[in-house]
Amino acid sequence: MSSIPAKHRLRNRIWQQRYLLILTLPVVLWMIVFNYIPMYGLIIAFQEYTPFQGFIHSPWLGFGNFRELFADPTFRDSLYNTFKISIAKLVFGFPAPIILALLLNELVFKRFKRIVQSLTYLPYFVSWVLVVGFMYTLLDPDTGVISKLLVNLGIIGSDTMLMGDSHSFLVLVVFTEIWKNIGWNSIIYLAAIAGIDPQLYEAAVVDGANRFRRVWHITLPALKPTIIILLILSIGGLVNSNFDQMFMMQNSLTQDAANVLSVYSYKMGLVAGRFSYGTAIGLFQSIVAFVLMYIANFTSNKITKESLF
C-alpha cells in the first residue's frame, strides 16, 4: 500500500466511496448555505454595527465590545450561572438516561417496556412554553397540586412560592430538564444495547454471572464508546444552557438565577438593540464551547483511547 503515490491513493478512495459521497452532498451544501455563509455576520462582534451602514461599512471597534464584556458585572454573573446550571444538569442529567436504558433493558415483559419507553419520551415533544405553563399552575402555592402535595409531605412550607424562589430554581431547572429529555436520550443507549452480541450474555450465564454482573461486565463496557462520545458533546455544550427553558422560567424573583449567557445575549442584542454586543456574547460562548469540547476530546483520547475526532 505504501508504494502507491499519495495522489492516487486519494483518487482511488474517492472513486471507491463515490456513492457515499454523493449521498453526503446535499447535507454539505445545506451546511455551506445555512451555516458557513452566514458566518461572515460574526464580524459585527468587532464593530459598532448599525443596520444602515451594513456589515462592511460599520465602524470598527476591534476588541472594544469584548473589553466591555469582561468588565460587565452582569456578564460575569451570567457566565457563573451558566456553568452552575450546566454542571448541575451534567452531573444529574447525564447518567439518568443511561440508568433508564439499563433498567428498560432488564425488563422481561416486553409490552410493558414499550409502554414505559413511549411514555418517557413523550415529554420531549412538549414545548418549553407549555411545560413552564404547567409548572406555574402545578406549583402555585394556593391552588397547585404538586405544591399542596409537597406541603402535606412536610417538604416545603405552606407559603413557599416554588416558581419565585432562586433556591428552588436550580432544582426545578434540573428536574424538568431530566423529565423532559430522559426518554429521548435513552433511545441512543437502547440502540447501542440492542447491538450487543447475545452470545456474550449466554456465555456469561453459563459462567454463572448474575444480572448485575452481566450489566457491569458486558452492557456497560459495550456502551462505553457511546457514553464517551455523548459526554464529550455534553461538555462542549456546557456554555449553552437551554434558552427556551431559562427564558420561560425567568420572572422578577428569579431573574438573577435565570440570567444565563444565551438570555443575556438575547437581551442585549435584540431587546436593547445592541447587535454587536449581543453578537460578541454569542461569539464568546461559541469559542468557549469549542475549547471545552476540544479539551474533553483530547483528555478522553489520552485516557480511554475513545474520542470524537
Binding site: N35, P38, L42, F52, I56, T74, L253, G273, F290
Partner: protein, 567 residues
Amino acid sequence: MKGKGLKISALAILAMSMLAGCGSGNNANNNTNAPAETAAANNGNAQASAPAESNGPSWQKDTSPFTFTQYFYGNWASNYLWKDQFAMKLATQKTGVTIDRKLATGSDDDYLNTMIASGDLPDTIMLDWNNPAVTKLIKNGMVYSMDELMEKYAPDFKAQLDPDMVKYHSIDGKLWYLPNLYETADRLTSGVPITPIRPWFIRSDIYAAIGSPAIQTPDDLENALKLAKEKFPDVSPVGVEFFDVAKNGFHGSNSMDYLIYSFSPHLLEERVKDDQQIVEYPMRNKGFIDAFRFLNKLSLEGLFDPQLLIYKQEQYEEKLYGAQYAVASQFMNNMYTQYNPKIESTLGKEQAYTILDGLKVNGQDPRYPASRLMGWQGLFITKNAKNPERIIQFAEYAWSDEGQMDMRYGTEGETYDMVDGLPKYKQDILDMSVKDNATFNSKYGFNDSTLLFRAGKLWDDASARDLKESQPVQYEAMKMLEKYNFDNYSLGMENLEPDGATAEGTINAKVKDLWNKTIPKLILSKSDAEFDSAYNEFVKQMDQVGAEKVEKVMYQRHLEDLKKKGL
C-alpha cells in the same frame, strides 16, 4: 487520526454558525437608498416644471384604490387592526386608501429591532415618539422627513399643523413623524377629565362590611386592609399590576404612581438639581422610596401577596375579573367599562369596585402630574414605502377636521346627529358603546382607527358630555381625582432618558436592570434594616455603573425640552 485538522475546523464552524444570522442587511440598504435618490431627482423636476397647484386638499386628487402596510407598536392592539369597521370603511370610500396594519407576534422590541436590523421595513410605522428606536430610524436615514413629503405632495398640509407641535416634535430642524393623540393646551380645561395615574379601588361589599371607614392616608389604607383580611380571609387584600422597569419605567408597576405621588407630591420638581446641573434618578428621592417602603410594610403584615411579583398581566386580570382583591388598582376606564360590568353580571352588583380618594401623607394632598399628551405614537413613512405620495396625502385627510370627524363619529344622520352644536352618536350606538364595547369596536371602530387623532374642542367637549351622561359614576370618580392634577408641561420633564445607542443609554439600561432586580428585594424585605441595606446596595451599584453621567444628560435633555416648548 487522518484529517484531524479538517474535522476540528468543521466542528468549530458548526459551533459558531448557530449565532450568525441577519445576512440581508447590506442588500436591503442598497434598496432603501435607491428611492431616496430618485425621490430627490423627482423633487428637482417638480420644482422646475410647476409649483404644485393647490386646489383643495391633496388627497382628493387621486382616490383610486391604494393599500399601504403599517406596523403598529403594541402587540395588544388587535382592536386597532383596519378591517371593515364603519370608520375605516368610510375613510377608504372617501380616499381609496386602505391600511394593512400589522402587529408583532411576540415582544414588540424584538420585532422592531429585527425589522430595523434586516432593513425589512413596512411602508409606515406607528411607534411611540419617545421610543429609543426612533433615533435609529432617523439617523440611519430609514424614514422620510415629513417636510420633504409635504412640500412635494401635499403643499397645504403644513399650514394645518399646530406650529407648537411642529416646533416640539422637530429633530434637527425637520419633522420626521406626525404625532398621534397630540393635544393642545386647552385640553386640560376641556374634554374628559384627565386621570394621569392608575387609581386604586375597593370592593364595595368589603368596604361596607368593615364599616366604611374614611381612607385618607396610607395608615387608613393599611388598617382597612387588615380589617378586610380578618373578615374575608379568602380574598387577597391588595392587588397591583405587574412590575417591570424596562416596560413600565422607574415606578416599576403602573399601580405605583398612586402611592408615589402621595409620598412624594413634588417628585418632578425635586429631581431637578440646577446647582449640580443634573436631573436625578427618582430612586434617589426619599418620598419615591417611601412608596416602596409602604408596600414592604404591607408585605410584612401579610397583606401583600408576593405572587404579584411574578404574575403576568393576564393572571392579575383574571383574579380581578373574579373580584379576588379587596383593594385593587386598574386603569380608570377599564375598571368602569370592563371589570365592573363583568363582575356585576357574574358575581353581583355588591362586589363591584368603588374608587378610593387620593392618599394624604403628612397632611399634604397628593399631586398628580397631568400633562396634556405631547403625542402617543408617531406616524413614520419609511424609505421602503412604494408610494409615499399617497400616504402623505392620506395623512392630510386624517389630520383634517373632516378626517377626524369621519373616523371618530362617522356620517352625520347615519351614525351621529349634531345636538346643541356638538356631535352625538345615535342612541343605539351610544348604548352599545357602554354595554357591549367589544361589538361597538368591531362594528364601528370609532376609537380604533388611531392614526393621527388630535385634540379638537368639538369632539373633546362632545366626549366629555357623553361620558357624563352615559357613565355618571366614572365621571364622578374622574372629577374626584382631577383636583389633584397639576400641569407639568412647564416643568420640562418629557422624554428625558438618553438615546439607547449612546454610552449613557447603555448605562441607563444597566441602571434600569439593577433597579428591576432591587424592587422585589425591597418589597419582600424581612425588616427595615434589610430594606435599607438592599436600597443602599442598589445606590452603590448604580453609582458604580455611572448613573451620574446619565443624570447630567437628563439635565441637558430637560433644558432642551424647555427650549422646545419655548419656556
